[in-house]
């Protein structure tokens, strides 16, 4: 079975690199360059997992996350936050606890292959 992964990331080079590795790993990647696109694709395509950046133009990742969680399907889809935003803000932590991503990963701390491992772990492929 091929899993579909939605990457919501405004940084094109990073998004492209993740897409390439996902393809190599036999996933079906879907791309969105901001939160608005991310919500639209998520709710229409129902991917198996969403990789979500927080700081993005048009619509930020947290707003997109909340909108996805409002949907019956979206309430349960596993989400991995991949950001450079530090979780040192009380409101951000509260939002995380409310909407429950699987992981809150700091981009600079994670290599793409480690992120892939986390994706596989969440999808119980490993």
């Amino acid at each position: 079975m091929k899993y579909t992964i939605l990457i919501v990331e405004d940084e094109e080079s990073l998004r492209g690199a993740i897409v390439d590795v996902l393809r190599f790993k036999n996933f079906i990647p879907l791309e969105a360059k901001n939160g608005k696109e991310g919500v639209e694709i998520a709710l229409s395509k129902h991917p198996d997992l969403i990789l979500l950046d927080l700081v993005m133009p048009v619509m930020d990742g947290m707003t997109a996350f909340k909108k996805i969680r409002e949907d019956a399907w979206g309430a349960k889809v596993p989400v991995i936050i991949l950001t450079n935003l530090s979780a040192t803000n009380e409101q951000l932590v509260d939002d995380m606890v409310t909407h429950k991503p699987m992981h809150y990963l700091i981009k600079s701390d994670w290599k793409i292959h480690d992120v892939m491992y986390k994706i596989e772990e969440v999808l119980k492929i490993t």
């Binding site: 530090s86 040192t88 009380e90 932590v93 429950k100 699987m102 600079s108 701390d109």
Partner: protein
Amino acid sequence: MKLNYFFLTILMLLCLWIPFDKANALEVDTVQTEAEVHTNSASLVSKVAPGEFLPLSVKLLNFGSQNRVDVDVSYEILNKKGERVHFIKETVAVETTASFVKTIQIPFDVSPGEYTAKTYISYQGQLVPAVSSFPFKVERKIAGFFQSDFIYYLGFTLFISILTLIFGHTLMKHYRKNRLSPIDYSDIPHDLRIFYEILSDTIMEMRERVGDDAISIATKIDGLKIDKDTGRVLELSSSPAKIIATLVSEYEKLLGKKVSFSLRPEKKDL
């Protein structure tokens, strides 16, 4: 010089590097009248390496003379075939008794094997021969140990090392498993449990990365009470989200970089 009474005993002790009084003892009795030689040897086996010194304790006694007698003492090392591989001769002056320790250097070129150290004396007017001998082994050394002992010690050391490694590995695994096993907070009300879990897992992960500093930082966070040994979150007395944000902030200061965290998969309450 005529000797009316003759009794000779040669005691040879092979000492090597162990205390002399604990070494092998060999006793030679030569009875004057029948000129017999009796040799008693302890059952211990002596070993020496090529080039090392073989110490012999020699005791000559009961010459029965009032005057000094010049006695030639000969030492020879014979191989298993009875061939002489080393020979030394010296003269000692004896009145009635003489005791001394003689060290014989085993030649460097002797082959490992079984040898005999033979000692005999001769003097003017000698009536009966007096000879003493005892067997010993020549064995090469490796790193200061005799070859046979070295293999034994090496085997023993390897065994102990492997045992220590296995034990250490098991202990570390157990220790790490205990330290890294997520702490169960099923007794905490559902709405608060996720905060306990995030805090607990973050403390545990940081403890793995920076050691017990992670615990001491956590104990200084306002509103957070933890067990200093296990890192278990005991009580949250202010906004849980604020506590997490402050803890993450403190850890980021300690690490000099941002901190990731994970949330546990949600379990349904029974």
